[in-house]
Symmetry: C2
Subunit: 261 residues, 2 copies
DNA sequence: ACAAAAGTGTTTTAACTACACCCATGG
DNA sequence: CCATGGGTGTAGTTAAAACACTTTTGT
């Protein structure tokens, strides 16, 4: 881009390597408690540095694709996933974050639904882990995951993001469970329900889920706009949906509602 | 970083150029109304492409410096500014955003205080503009500025960000004027004052501003943590979109605390 | 009939808005 | 003593939290 007056020596101007990585979150039901928990897929590094360690899926940026497209492609190639929700997280560019070379990573984060997560090919070199109990990862990926978790929780608190963990139809209790899993605390069912029903982009259907040994709950669907993945906004790579936190005026979703011991 | 299984051809793997740019905001008092307004400095491009057009200050990333350091250095070299508040905004990487070559720009945004802004050397090729009345800029810089404005307003709504526009000591009315300038609407002085006094990181001093033809207002100071500029945390250098300020959580990597206007 | 979760109503409490009013200074 | 903004008080309104209660299913 050649800006005026940049007086660094020519040797230093060699562009550092640029890579894309993605933190992918999905909910998995714990067989015992039945409650959903946060999981994410990692890939095992098959070369130096950090050979053998687990790392975030990622890869290089090809010249013909936008950042978002590149993130989606790398994701698909390494894990077989094609998430609906994919958003830029942060650009990490510390000097010493990769051993030998200078490396800048633009990190995306994604939410996938349980059925999608099933499709993810698990193998010797791709495995799912619980988000809150990761071992030491390659590079600075632990920090990146921590940051993604922090961002997820914050966005959850006032965003319309929880639905991206769920399928087309869902019960209000499922939404509550998503919140409880991500925020890590119990919420009052009654108040939570009231909040959701006041939200503009959740519509009731006339279907009910059968099978539980209790009164069948009504199914709802999300009518809001998903973050576009890939196609539309490729022009600048950041357009249609201004990246983070579209929510200044948006849907009030439940925040605190502690249940009593 | 060489991730596994990236099946794109070798020709496409050539790293695209990487640049840093910064959107700098400062408040300037309108001589007529006396009210502060948002301004930002731009630099005139002195080579192709977009020769002669106004653009965001920026430049390349040197191999020895973090992203944050590079942003600060470019800023200093092009405009003479050394802002206290400097945070990553977004990485823009659309395929066609620069004419000839592929270019990824990691954009930062900064807030500077009036006295700092005075120091900015203004010249033939560096000039300040009102943020809401910019002509067509080089590249996709109009979009970037719009996004920065949107983010500023959002963060303002519940952040502890306003003080970075002001000096060491300020009156509560000054803070209110900052909010009014950025949000574009009037606020109730009485209620605003109550909110600020309830904020944890604003402390009263025993000084008063003299000289107005009215009761001298008390001076306050900001005791919260500024976003470090180029400091230790620049290693991974993550600063983020804030939470609903109640979430007392701070991110795994730096950010500033919150308040409730 | 009973357990269990869906769903509704109601009281309490905190937060925010609007606006009236007093205070201290320069002219 | 008057104009001007600094600063305080307070009633009315709105949203949120807590929790008792009713409804509908499966077994």
């Amino acid at each position: 881009m050649a800006y005026p007056s940049a007086n660094v020596s020519e040797r230093e101007l060699q562009s550092p390597s640029l890579a894309l990585s993605t933190v992918i979150f999905a909910l998995r039901h714990d067989p015992q408690s039945g409650r959903p928990e946060l999981w994410l897929p990692l890939v095992r590094r098959i070369r130096q540095p950090h050979h053998g360690k687990w790392a975030l899926p990622g890869g290089p940026l090809a010249s013909h694709e936008s950042l978002q497209d590149a993130a989606a492609r790398n994701l698909s190639e390494t894990t077989g996933l094609d998430p609906r929700y994919l958003e830029q997280l942060y650009a990490f560019g510390g000097v010493d974050r990769a051993a030998a070379q200078r490396l800048v990573s633009i990190v995306y984060w994604a939410l996938v639904q349980p059925d999608e997560a099933q499709l993810a090919r698990e193998s010797e070199n791709v495995r799912w882990f619980r988000a809150d109990s990761l071992g030491p990862l390659a590079f600075d990926h632990n920090e990146i995951v921590d940051y993604a978790l922090w961002r997820l929780r914050n966005k959850m608190a006032y965003g319309s993001i929880a639905y991206h963990f769920l399928g087309e139809r869902f019960t209000l209790a499922q939404v509550r469970e998503v919140y409880e899993a991500v925020l890590g605390r119990a919420l009052d069912p009654a108040n939570f329900r009231r909040h959701l029903r006041a939200a503009p982009d959740i519509a009731a259907t006339d279907e009910f889920r059968q099978g539980g040994r209790h009164r069948p709950p009504r199914l709802y669907r999300y009518t809001g706009t998903s973050t576009p993945v890939g196609g539309a906004s490729a022009a600048t790579g950041a357009t249609a949906t201004p990246p983070p936190d579209t929510a200044a005026s948006s849907p009030p979703v439940p925040v605190n509602a502690g249940r009593n011991p």
